[in-house]
Symmetry: C2
Subunit: 305 residues, 2 copies
DNA sequence: GATTATCCATAAGCAAACCTGAAGGTTTCC
DNA sequence: GGAAACCTTCAGGTTTGCTTATGGATAATC
């Protein structure tokens, strides 16, 4: 019988690319991974890896093996989840990742709710950008992810993920409060915000991509003077009269800040959804976490200006 | 991640009943099995075994785990089979069991055919009664089984087994050759064979069960004076004028013996079929073995009297 | 084009996991 | 009531797998 731990190494190699990365992800030395894969190769009696420069490449046989392994690992997960879901009390561990604004606005309340209802359920929370979180979810480093989806923006699709909508919120142009100066006060639409400094997230994020797209459609290339993935900082920069930004209502939930808001054409909305691997999507732990989020987060976040 | 080797122990326990049997089947000590299952129990954090007299019983959680495990093991097997099937040459090992008459009549030829066509395929052949063979097949101790099925006799059904018909042969009453004595020579039908000694297989076999049934329908309880699972001995006992027996044509293939044959009412036929676990039924090794058998065994074994 | 960094493979030492055998406690069967 | 079957625990030895160190090959860098 083939060793599943070794098969897993092969699957991780297929997903990550190099032995070194696999080793790091599983907290082992590359040497160990190499030896184990060598052993697997000897067991199946078929070459699995070929040298490709300084890396290795999976043979066709190895890819077949990986396909089966993916199924097997999913099933193993499902088995574990099924057993921990069985008792009268929901137990086990769920690793959750959310992005910043959700973390700040809702997670304290959601976690309190969860520990009250399911004292034996251990929730490990981390804050992570949606793209990274979905990636790590597929790699089984997370169990539940809260991510976002911008309109007309194809979110990266991972196989075997179960997505459920959580809420939507409106995206609007946020300006410093009236009286901060004529450059700001004269702006009445997105098209007029081409000459002022912007605060945005770093390149590579969906948010950055979408906002730049909006600016270009409005006819200008934004000058991104303040670049940080901390959206709290964006709010602070706008409030203090240093920049404009496109903010979602989710970011304002905690502040009720006095920024001036301008509606965008078409009132675009961002979708916030949760994702879990299908194999464990119906486990008690995941269901409990999703319910807690649904109880805490209103289905529509739109706030008054 | 749950350890599949330990899960397997649990699955074997579900199939076999006692730790001791599991240990023997896997060539381990009972102590080891006990420790591993204890470890599994600790890992899932849910009780898996309860004491039931001097044995143990699986909890509901354990049974859920076993269901998943069965799937996982099947998939693992399928993965292994898929990989060994991949090359241009059929390789790997296939453990085959057949019952005696097939073993003697056809397996030498089938094996020769196989080694010629697939030199890298290793076939391990054992002779085993059909009931035992199917049981061992389900327990993954065999890969391919040639078994029999008597008319109106529900063969034990195992889940996850793929059955394919191989051939059929007629069952007839076999008597000593003419001139062996009046008691024999006067018999012209099954109903008249109530007063002579019989040769049969031991109780518990499908053959024994079916033949006794035929005798009772014919109005008598047979006197089984010679009991052996060696059907060659049955033929010898009949030839030498010591007993009667119900023989299939398959048993006569090698002998063309001079026994006297009497047709039974309705010309009943036994079905001979092959069985493999579904998970590996379409692997190259299994297909090769089945084809070899199909080439060697005629689809209808009926011989002239 | 030489240097540096990255990556994989192998060898040797070591720690953890696993298995064995013995001993003990129940339960069942005769 | 005694013997046999069964499971468990404990102490021991063995195997397995991991780590560190070393070397060779390739890609990136200056």
């Amino acid at each position: 019988m083939l060793d599943v731990r070794r098969l897993r190494l092969l699957a991780e190699l297929a997903a990550r690319g190099t032995l070194a990365e696999v080793a790091e992800a599983l907290h082992q030395s590359p040497s160990s991974v190499s030896q184990q894969l060598g052993q697997l190769e000897r067991e199946v009696g078929v070459p699995l890896l070929t040298k490709a420069g300084r890396r290795v490449q999976l043979t066709a046989a190895a890819q077949v093996l990986v396909e089966h392994t993916t199924e097997i690992l999913a099933r193993l997960e499902a088995a574990e989840a099924a057993v921990t879901s069985l008792g009268d009390e929901t137990a086990g561990t769920v690793r959750v990742a959310v992005f910043q604004s959700v973390a700040l606005a809702y997670m304290p309340q959601a976690l309190a709710d969860l520990t009250r209802r399911h004292p034996r359920l251990r929730v490990m929370l981390s804050q992570r950008a949606p793209e990274q979180a979905l990636h790590d979810l597929a790699l089984r480093e997370l169990d539940l992810v809260v991510a976002e989806h911008y309109p007309d923006h194809g979110a990266p699709h991972f196989d075997g993920l179960d997505r459920q909508p959580l809420t939507t919120d409106r995206l609007r142009l946020a300006l410093p409060p009236r009286g901060s100066g004529a450059i700001w006060d004269n702006i009445t639409s997105l098209a007029e915000a081409g000459c002022v400094p912007w605060a945005m997230e770093p390149p590579g994020t969906a948010s950055r991509h979408w906002i730049e797209e909006q600016c270009r459609r409005a006819g200008f290339e934004p000058e991104v003077r303040y670049e940080t993935d901390d959206v709290e900082a964006h709010v602070a920069l706008v409030e203090s009269g240093n920049a404009v930004a496109l903010l979602s209502d989710l970011m304002r939930v905690r502040h009720r800040t006095a920024v001036r808001l301008i509606e965008l054409a078409g009132s675009p909305r961002r979708t916030v959804f949760t994702a879990a691997r299908t194999a464990i999507a119906d486990s008690a732990g995941i269901i409990a976490c999703r319910s807690a989020l649904a109880r805490v987060v209103p289905p529509d976040l739109t706030l008054p200006d």
